[in-house]
């Protein structure tokens, strides 16, 4: 009796460690999927960077598209920018200019050229919060109805585009 009791704490410890180790493998904490998958794009009415004209979520509808969160303070946004310049005739890309200065954003678009249909001014980050944005850059795939289909956190590399985003977009096109 005594000996078995002696092993109880050790067995408990091993079981707890085992459960924790297993729980760690459940999900990759750096790649959290959006909780908004399949939900309609959050409602908004905000000006666009270049002209100040007000747009709403209705203006994103029509074709499956990319929605890219960017800012002039975001160094990584410049890394993915050339790829978007290449893709802009292939797929509509909408920008969300996140927590930025609109004049700086205008200058940025002039200097690096503009791959976006338009960029939405989100100075206070309210649209970003409604989208569940963590930071810039972040890229969403939306379908023709504007519903969110996929969220990509960080730089979109050519590989990400070819292996994940492009196949998803062509699936959405043919739907």
């Amino acid at each position: 009796m005594h000996r078995t009791l002696f092993y109880v704490p050790i067995v408990c410890f091993v079981i707890i460690m085992g459960v924790l180790a297993w729980a760690f493998t459940l999900e990759d904490a750096s790649r959290l999927p959006s909780v908004l998958i399949d939900r309609p794009f959050p409602a908004f009415e905000l000006p666009i960077v270049k002209t100040g004209v007000l747009v709403t979520e209705q203006d994103l509808k029509g074709r499956p598209a990319l929605v890219n969160v960017w800012a002039t303070w975001c160094a990584n946004c410049l890394i993915e920018h050339p790829l978007f310049m290449e893709l802009k005739d292939e797929v509509p890309i909408f920008g969300i200019n996140y927590n930025d200065d609109t004049d700086k954003a205008k200058a940025w678009l002039r200097r690096h050229r503009d791959p976006y249909q338009f960029s939405i001014v989100d100075i206070e980050g309210k649209l970003a919060i409604d989208l569940g944005v963590y930071g810039a850059p972040e890229t969403y795939v939306i379908d023709a109805e504007g519903a969110i289909q996929y969220r990509h956190v960080g730089i979109v590399s050519r590989e990400d585009w070819e292996l994940t985003l492009a196949p998803l977009l062509s699936r959405l096109e043919s739907r």
Partner: protein
């Protein structure tokens, strides 16, 4: 030379003031202490989405800044703590809650302390109980009488 030195000192003093000017205090004024304490408990139990292991209160990330402002705004607009938690949960999922919801996936997390307490009580009862039992029961027939004899002989 001396004048130069004075100038340099003045310059250094001016520089030191610059950092003070740049420092910003995030002022979220509240009309009363109750709202303020709710604000502080909310931002300490909500997790900064970008930082993996910091709460909203402790993070300098831009998103934490925005979310603190949003929590402040919602508190002033009269939302309840639960409405604010739900607002963030709907956008950022379970990730944002440091106090996890009770679901089939987290039930073990919530139940483990109670289970361990029961287990501990059981082990305690067996160990202590066994000891008490041993003290009370004479080991062999006649042992109690012998013990008594020994005590009497002293």
């Amino acid at each position: 030379m001396k004048r130069h030195f004075a100038r340099v000192v003045l310059l250094v003093l001016c520089w030191s003031l610059v950092s003070v000017c740049w420092a910003t205090i995030e002022a979220h004024p509240f009309p009363d202490d109750e709202l303020r304490s709710r604000y502080h408990s909310l931002i300490s139990e909500l997790r900064c989405p970008q930082c993996l292991n910091t709460n909203l209160a402790g993070s300098d990330a831009m998103i934490a800044l925005d979310l603190r402002r949003e929590v402040h705004r919602m508190l002033l607009a009269g939302h309840s703590d639960n409405q604010i938690r739900t607002f963030l949960f709907e956008r950022y999922g379970d990730f944002v809650l440091y106090r996890p919801r009770v679901t089939s996936r987290t039930i073990l997390l919530w139940a483990t302390p109670a289970l361990l307490l029961c287990l501990g009580a059981f082990v305690f009862w067996r160990v202590v109980g066994a000891g008490v039992d041993r003290q009370r029961t004479p080991r062999k027939p006649g042992e109690a009488a012998r013990l008594q004899r020994l005590l009497n002989d002293r």
